[in-house]
Symmetry: C2
Subunit: 123 residues, 2 copies
């Protein structure tokens, strides 16, 4: 497994899906997945998807600036650490964000999101 | 194990040590520990400590703004996700940063840093 390749492909897929079809993110999570979104905690694909699809804006554009990744240890997981900026809604300012994902393998070349933590960095 | 308690205690200890006695951080890492620092990768306690102690400033002050944490999965690890600002050197501006740690247990109530990823968020 190449963690850098996994991280790059995941990040491209995640933010493209977030910005074009947020409901499509549900398939990336499982029953035991966890999301911390601006300090609020959600568990399981259904609760996580309900949160993401109920965010109070339709249009969103993420601009990824940095992607770091490391193997998470003997479980075969990959840790992905992203920073960037996003524009939510029409004509809004760009806001910096950072986000981390713990990807766990589910078969060759396939991963789900076990852990997801997201924060805005207000400037 | 209470992940929130572990994360809070770790974050206080880590940044207090970083700002007062950076060489003291070496004991938090092990042979297989990994650090990504502004995109540069280091492996093992010795290499990580060498990087941290050679940063080109003596005084540093971290101000932690948010701490999120989640259990990392069946291994007993804890993921800690921090955002805040720091002032490095004399009279310098505060710079936003974000950092994530994957803490792994080594006996009851003791953890080491398996993964550490750090980024400045330039404003």
């Amino acid at each position: 497994m190449d963690p850098d390749g996994v991280a790059k492909a995941f990040v491209e897929h995640y933010y493209r899906t977030f910005d074009s079809n947020r409901a499509g993110l549900v398939g990336l999570y499982q029953e035991g997945s966890m999301l911390s979104f601006e300090g609020e905690k959600f568990m399981g694909a259904a609760a996580i998807s309900a949160k993401l699809t109920s965010l109070p804006f339709d249009k969103c554009l993420h601009k990824v600036v940095t992607v770091d990744c490391q193997p998470a240890g003997p479980t075969g997981g990959v840790l992905v650490f992203v920073s960037g900026s996003l524009q939510a809604g029409e004509g809004e300012h760009q806001i910096k964000f950072s986000q981390m994902f713990h990807l766990m393998p589910v078969g060759p070349g396939n991963f789900y999101v076990q852990n997801d933590m997201f924060r805005l960095n207000y400037g």
